[in-house]
Amino acid sequence: MSITATDAVVLDGAPPPATPVRRARLRFLRGGKTRTGLILLAFFVLLAVAGPWLAPYDPDAMSDQLLRPPSGDHWFGTTHTGQDVFSQILVGTRGVLVVGLLAAVIATALSVLVGVSAGFLGGAVDEILSALSNIFLVLPGLPLIIIVASFVPDTGDIVIAVAIALTSWAWGARILRAQTLSLRRRDYVEAARATGESTPRIILFEILPNLTAVIASGFVGTVIFAVLTEITLAFIGVADISHWNWGTVLFWAQSNQALAQGAWWWFVPAGLCIALLGTALALINFGIDEFVNPRLRTATGSSRKVRMRVGFTPVVRRSTGDGHHDHSSEHSSKEPRP
């Protein structure tokens, strides 16, 4: 059994030999992309925790400084009723992250449940669960969430998070199923089965630890999707607009003709924050992807200048003839993730 990338990804869980894991962990963090992503994410998490205390003004408080461009007093300018945009963004960070993370946690749990059981159990269970996740995959998520959210009388953060989770788990389930399929006939799983381990135990202690990287990447992808969806819902006024988040800021900017009045400071900061947070998460995901599939690493950073030529690229050949791994690691990166 050769050591493939996924086998080495044991970020937590089962007790592996100590040294290779540490090396693997360090390599994951060494990439400049991943580090940039993590630092950016940490920054936003900090804002989410401390935002309401850091905010210089009450985000709802009106003042007589109407529609002022950014200045020393109001870093991001003011709205048409004199509210401080900077404070609105700071206070709004928490809502964005909470919904994003909550939705991603629920969606990831669902996708692990559906994907791993479909892949591992096979047969009729697989057929039904795969069909279910394929159906959810092709149904357009956003219109569905809009419909559900507009029928619910109270659209607080939790309702929105659950609605997003229910429509976004299918992608992860599909990838996890493919990965589980490639794992379940591996020698060590067969060995565990032969020693009489129960199915739940095999899934929990043999399969799941080897799916950590895939699950993590799916989780991060879902956070991106959830944050974008949540902001969109707030922007079009479906979600509860009495809670501040970046989408609410954009909602008020749009409904008060910020564009026509040239008040760029009203909508630019919120958009940049969304883009920065999204980039941070995407960078972390690239780190995970490159960790799983070393061929994606770019040649930059090496001291010697090597011109990569196809046909001369050093490739680690796997000794096992199963080819499944190859196939499934493509799965995690091939299709553009929404």
């Binding site: 357009p140 956003l142 006024g237 990166s333 299709e335 553009p336």
Partner: protein
């Protein structure tokens, strides 16, 4: 053939699921918003309209769930989606019929452009891995993290409000009457540029990344090495051997991300007040127009399914393996 039949069956099941979800949502949710609407418009509705709304939203308490379900299907098959309240008393099917061509034209063209453009750039940057094109990756990542609608807002602020190069809203010049003549079509094209470019810009990044990753994976395959060893030209190996194989997952990815693209396009329409189906959805949400909302959802879903089926057929034509597995 077996493959195509399987796909057809799958889409039939999915369409059924979507319609059933559409049937269940108003019945499972607490409160009866449609009942409130009905009583507000009491005097202005004729009995037939009331009947169809009752059937579509399950307001008739006496009926069993099954009875409601068959009634619902009967109305759908008649093309009866109820009355729109925002455009009272126009039927929902008529409102959708007017706005659907706009969306189809906008989404269809921009999706095709961004797919071709993104795949092309992806092929090239995957082939020339480690060249300056890698510098494009962080940029595309950043752009793909921006919500479609925000990019639209910025586009309006810059190109419509600040420099007045393009109109800031609408699908055509209001002075014109929609017709198949040159003034109208040119005006429609002119109005479509800004929303179109917005969509292409946000959608293209995903294709570049996906295609690049596949190219990188494929270009270390043995058959690519053989092709190079044979002394074939660089172009021929790149397109005929590597890209040809790498594009397959991108096409199935294309099908899967259609739903997402359509969602983004709806938002672009909302921002640009483009007379398509997304803008109708926004108005329906604002006016609590449940029949219109549900009609729009149904049409969007069915269109996405049809597009998916099309992508599957293309895939079957390109990949001989799907045809052989019989």
């Amino acid at each position: 053939m077996k493959y195509i039949l399987q796909r057809l069956a799958f889409y039939a099941v999915t369409a059924w699921a979507a319609i059933t979800i559409n049937f269940l949502i108003p019945r499972l949710m607490p409160g009866d918003p449609v009942q409130a609407l009905l009583s507000r418009y009491q005097g202005q509705l004729d009995t037939k309209a009331i009947d169809s709304l009752k059937a579509l939203f399950g307001l008739d308490e006496q009926q069993s769930m099954w009875q409601q379900y068959t009634d619902y299907w009967a109305h759908l098959l008649d093309g009866d989606l109820g009355l729109s309240f925002t455009f009272f008393p126009t039927p929902v099917s008529e409102v959708i019929g007017q706005s659907l061509p706009w969306t189809l034209a906008l989404v269809g063209t921009t999706t095709l452009i961004s797919f071709v453009l993104g795949t092309g750039i992806g092929v090239y940057s995957g082939w020339k891995r480690g060249s300056w094109l890698d510098g494009l990756l962080p940029v595309t990542t950043f752009i793909s993290s921006i919500p479609y609608f925000w990019l639209g807002l910025v586009a309006i602020a810059l190109f419509a409000e600040k420099w007045s190069l393009f109109p800031n809203s609408g699908g055509y010049d209001n002075a014109l009457v929609p017709a198949f003549d040159w003034p109208f079509i040119s005006s429609a094209l002119y109005h479509a540029i800004l929303p179109g470019v917005t969509i292409v810009l946000s959608a293209v990044a995903g294709w570049i990344l996906g295609m690049r990753n596949m190219m990188v994976t494929v270009s270390s395959e043995d058959y690519v090495m053989v092709a190079q060893a044979k002394g074939l030209s660089e172009r021929r190996v790149m397109f005929g051997y590597a890209a040809r194989n790498a594009v397959l997952p991108n096409i199935s990815g294309f099908a899967l991300s259609l739903g997402f693209i359509v969602g983004g396009t709806l938002l672009v329409e909302m921002v640009f007040t483009y007379p398509g189906i997304g803008f109708q959805l926004l108005q329906a949400v604002g006016g609590k127009d449940y029949p219109l909302m549900q009609g729009v959802f149904l049409i969007i879903t069915l269109s996405v399914l049809a597009a998916n089926l099309l992508a599957d057929l293309v895939y079957a034509a390109l990949d001989p393996r799907t045809r052989k597995e019989a």
